[in-house]
């Protein structure tokens, strides 16, 4: 039971840390993107892409979570 708890904590840490990293990166990019869009509205598409690029981090976090649970559990 204690082992299962540790696995859950590990999975939670993997997901939480990657989600935090994504949020942190996106906040920085988002500010710049909104600033650029205020100057030129046509930059919406590019701004959106730049903002969502760090999402890969959380997706990889999700992969790590699945692997932790399936391999360890």
């Amino acid at each position: 039971m204690a082992e299962a708890g540790l696995i859950a904590v590990g999975a939670g840490l993997a997901f939480g840390a990657s989600a935090f990293a994504t949020a942190w990166a996106e906040s920085k990019i988002g500010v710049a993107a909104v600033g650029a869009m205020a100057e030129k509205e046509q930059l919406f598409g590019k701004g959106l892409i730049l903002t969502v690029i760090p999402e890969t981090l959380v997706i990889l976090g999700l992969v790590a979570v699945i692997l932790i649970i399936r391999l360890a559990g």
Partner: protein, 641 residues
Amino acid sequence: MSEAMTKIRIITPHSVGVRVIDTLYNLSLFHVNPSNGEYNLGKGNPLATAESLSSSLLKAKAILQEFGSELLSHERTFGKKEMNQLETVHHDVFRLREQEQTLTSQLQKATEEHEISSGLDALGIDRTLVQKLHYVACFVGFCAPETLQSRLKVTHEFKQVPLGQKILCALFVQKKDELLVRVVLQETGWVQVAVEQYMTSTAQLKKQITHLTTELRACEKEKEQLRKAHAQFITDVELYLDIEIKKAELPLQFATTAQSFVATGFVPSRHLARITKTLEYATRKRVTIEELHVDHDEAVPVQLANKKTVRSFEVLTKLYELPSYFEADPTSLLFITFPLFFGIMLGDVGYGFVTLALFLFLRKKKPDIKAWCNVLIYASIVSIFFGFVYGEYFGFESVSVETGSALCKRGLCLVKEIVEGHGALEVVYTFPRLLNRVHGNVAIGGLELPSIMAFSIFIGALHVNLGLLIGFYNVWKAHGLKLAVLEKLSWIVLEIGLVVLVLGLSSVIPVHWIVGTLIMIVSVIGLCLGEGVKGLIEIPALFSNMLSYMRLGAVGLASVGLAVVVNESLALPMFEKGGFFILGGMLIMLVGHGINIALGVIGPFLHSVRLHYVECFSKFFHGGGIEYIPFGKKAQTEGEL
């Protein structure tokens, strides 16, 4: 696909220049390429009429500003007579404006004078007598009585009367104290009123005000009559002049010689014959039109030309960037995969129907966002389809034994299943489904993965490779087969090598692992030759791109999670309590599912868009296309799609 364009050069003598410009305007097909001074030809000058047209346009704009009316303009043609009428209206409007300004200032002056004069009357000051005083000095002005009275000890006679927000004061002092009082008054912010300037009687001033007001009203009435009679005419004239100036200034973008001008630009290839015929007819064959070769580095204008059903998805392409003329238009791909990804993520029959109804309603109410609504209508239909695939209805995958039995008695039998819920086993009736996205697992290489995740990665691999194949086509068209194979096919070969290696190692296929490794080495060499070092750096990105498609499952699961919380943890306990709690439960369901539907539209939309723009478009799309804007009448707007 984008419309095929032909670059043409039109050479015509100055004598028929106006006719050529008029014809080009009416055709609305010629996208002008401004002259860049090729063959050392000078730039053209505006037509002779440009200056007078500009002056008339300024007048029309000034009149419209004076009228303050915003009417819808109609395209009409006007002659010299109407231009003279414009001059007359302009003259009348500005005569009235000047008159109005004079009257207003006179009225303002008379009103002020009347106000002070009535104040003087109230103070009981005789204007003639005050000027003849020898032993007494009289001060009249605006003051703050409290400040003044606290400072002034020599006051003999002090009167005050409120006048609007100010207070008019009169002060009578002995002549010998005059200087002293003057100093004190200056220090207390006294504003002197010169009594000798208010000799006109109050009654006379009132008469004057009435007269001026009547005149001002007559002036305004006349202006209103002018506005009613000419506003539409002037609005139409403004549009006409605007168009005529555009025509008159068009030669600025042409190259010119002493006798002729040379216009270069692009026209849709399918209309070339019509343009040639019309221009020859208009100029009695005094025009030469030649087709020019288009280089691959040239900025050719792009007009997306998709079938009606696909056309709505052009908004998604334009949101990113217009494709360059020489690459494939990704709109058709978006038409297939955008709703597919949206549907995989939302995947709920109930939510799908709600969003479908919402966007059908919005399409009717807001014609300017019709294209966006069409995109989301398709997406909603696919969501309903995937809702049936997953067997999800407003987040419910199953119903209780009682409801299931009741439904079965009425001929709708669901699948009886034993599931683990709240730590105990219970019997439920589940909706029929092809894929259990919440609990379904699939074993891959001995590892149990959620089936929706495996399905998502599989879709991702297909999508990324489709992007690579389109990229292969683009490079092949632009730079030849060799580079296309090295730059794009190497990626696919690399993937094949990896699959062969993994399957070989896990003994699924009887192939030695060296074969897979060799295939991968060959593809990496190809990549180095095709894309250089950048290709090597991008290798891990190819696989992270495919993993990125796991969001197709993850976003959907988050949505299901929220729906289950709303249904089972919040609403159902309320329903079980009965009575008024049922109303509370209904409210919770309404708000909870409302929020989930809003998130269910925003999330899948953004993630679907992102998967295209980042993961797929990066394999083939360069963008940077310039929009095809023909000289002439305004092109159709997006809302008219």
